[in-house]
Amino acid sequence: MSTDKDYSSRSIDPAIQQMLGKAESLGVKTVWDRHAAMQPQCGFGETGLCCRHCLQGPCRINPFGEEPRTGICGASADTMVARGLDRAIAAGTAAHSGHARHLAHTMLKLSQGKTPDYSIKDPTKLRAVAKRIGVAVDGRKDLEIAGDVARAALADFGEKDSFVTWATSIVNEPRAKVLLGLGIVPKGIDFEISEIMHRTLYGVDADPVNLLLAGLRCSVADLAGCYMGTDLADILFGTPAPVVTQANLGTLKADAVNIAMHGHNPVLSELIVAKAQDMEKEAKAAGATGINVVGICCTGNEIMMRHGIPSCTHSVSQEMAIVTGALDAMVVDYQCIMPSVVNVAECADTRIITTMDICKIAGAEHVAFSEEQAGAKAKEIIAMAIGAFKARKGKPVFIPAITQKVVAGFSVEAIVAALRKVDAKDPLKPLVDNIKAGNIRGVCLFAGCNNVKVPQDLGFVSIARKLLKENVLVVATGCGAGALMRHGFMDPANVDALCGPGLKAVLTAIGQANGLGGPLPPVLHMGSCVDNSRAVALAVAVAGYLGVDVDKIPVVASAAEAVSEKAVSIGAYAVAAGLPTHVGVMIPVLGSPLVTSVLTDKVRGLTGGYFIVDTNPETAAASLLAAIDERRKGLGL
């Protein structure tokens, strides 16, 4: 096995480097090979100067100011780029809110008694959410409230008399005023997506600034969808609290039935986790030591946050879990599942099982999951994995012996609960006091994916390392959290090595007040990508405590290795919420000087937030610190 070759330009994760050696010796093509085969990539696409919105096209505009200077319809570079960006935001919004709608339907069916396998796991959160959105709770049963909450959620999708409830009920007053003033409060989540498709059609909106404002409004609808996704998942499956677990490929077990849950929605993965416990006997009868469920990407984050299920790997390295030869089934729902897993699986006897109507992959096996028959379907899927194990038993596997300890589960509720142990009456006070005193210089959220264009994890790890040393409190979601957990950033034992003295003192004080006998981990895992809503909720709470708008507090965000259009819509709502937001890969807007200057500068005058586009982690970290310091100065700190 060629493990001596240097794969650090592909991934800085040592487990993935070992698997790259194995993949190469087996002749398995991976995302990195396909990326190499794709070089050079098209410069028109890279700059956003390519339009396929009508049949007179495709059109492309010369990025150097020569002919062609407009599309055939006359659309300028600015219009073309703004239209393309809007469509990316709409796609991201559709995905997050589709996830949320799936949860709302599940909850509605639960309230109607149609889904025996689900229940209300967090009635406290149910009542808190109900109160927030104006659903009556007094004297009512949980399921009645749940039905109304689900109906209110579903009502947020279409156009109605009022604005989207999950947008208006989650921000504080100053931010609501800013959004209303700009006309970027969404009327309906689906309405905004649909309106983006309309206005970016051939011969509709050709005013780049008008297009960008519509994109921002759609991104606020995305925030609503994310927030709804988090709320409903917490109600149905429990609000996360700290758990201790592990991450990386070493969590696979050669002699167990290994099932990787990949995708996003806990509606499926929760059931697999529950039913796997019931089917241990069948697994043992097949000669396995048991059933080992692990996570990949965000559904992995969902079950890690709530049940401490280990995370196998994330994002760009998803194929590598299969390359170990130890994975019996990869069970997927939707989003971020590379169709290539089917080809890689052919070399490893892994069964790829799709479960959702909207996400089938040619060459995979499909089990049509339904909430009504959730338990039975989950058992059917697990039985398929046990069958795969029987076929694999005795064959050689290569699992890198690499795991990292992870302390996860930091929902806002969990963070507040931990702070309450420090100050029972005024839990946010210790956090805000430490921000004021400078022990915590600011807060940075790491979110988004791993992009094959960046050596995997290098962006996240480099920037987080620098910010932690500078006493920035770091929280993370999605595959950003995945990257940081695989490099030990969620192991409390690494606080000494990673954190500056101020931050270390705060993490230690909170940890000790909570009887942990040590600090909280250097980076707080807040959940999956819809759970960026948790970071927004935390920022809104801190701003509320200080009595200022979100754009005044020293909070920044970074999607250091973004891939998905979901990352574009999240980035846009972070900017709409008022945060300086770093993106570590080029977004296809540089072909328009106007759009570029709006996103990186002028939007600041509107929302207070702005994009920092920088592919160099060192200078990006410096920019994020400068943004934090600028805001501290603004607050007189």
Binding site: P40, C42, G43, T47, P63, F64, E66, L590, P593
Partner: protein, 168 residues
């Protein structure tokens, strides 16, 4: 000694994706990256062109660096010279922007740089082993090789066609 290399085009392979146009612009920018090049002033100039002829032929056209270059003979101030490597170059310090070279060029590949008030053309990417346009072509429509190699390839193709006919 290696045979002198030229940039050859295979129009039947060209999809007019314009990747060569972009790569050429980037190579001739100060920042040497697409994203820097987009904002540079003056904007960098591409020196390769794709011409379309009905019904669907797309042909990359660029300076042929003619052995007996008309532009070189026509240049009134003697600014155009041919190096030992065969590359025809215009000395910008001497160029007066009279566009005589443009009038005599049979390929129309000499451009006018409005800001610099000078002519510009393909310089074969000094410092690069393979010119940027050739490296960037995703379909192999541009080839960097010697006349001998290119002709050999054409002869082989012709021979194959001949053999096919014989087998029928």
């Amino acid at each position: 000694m290696n045979a002198r290399k030229e940039i050859f085009a295979k129009p039947e392979r060209c999809t007019a994706c314009m990747s060569c146009v972009i790569a050429c612009g980037v190579e001739h920018s100060k920042g040497k990256s697409l994203f820097a090049a987009c904002t540079e002033k003056p904007a960098p100039r591409s020196r390769i062109y794709i011409e379309w002829t009905a019904p669907e032929r797309k042909t990359p056209i660029l300076c042929r660096h003619c052995e007996d270059a008309p532009c070189m003979h026509a240049c009134i101030v003697g600014a155009i010279t041919q190096g030992d490597d065969g590359v025809v170059t215009t000395d910008n310090d001497r160029c007066i922007g009279c566009w005589t070279c443009v009038m005599v060029c049979p390929y129309g590949v000499i451009g006018r740089h409005a800001e610099l008030k000078k002519s510009y053309r393909c310089d074969r990417c000094p410092g690069r082993e393979v010119p940027a346009c050739v490296s960037s072509c995703p379909t192999g429509a541009l080839v960097f090789g010697s006349v001998e190699e290119f002709s050999k390839g054409s002869r082989r193709n012709a021979a194959e066609e001949f053999a096919k006919g014989e087998r029928k």
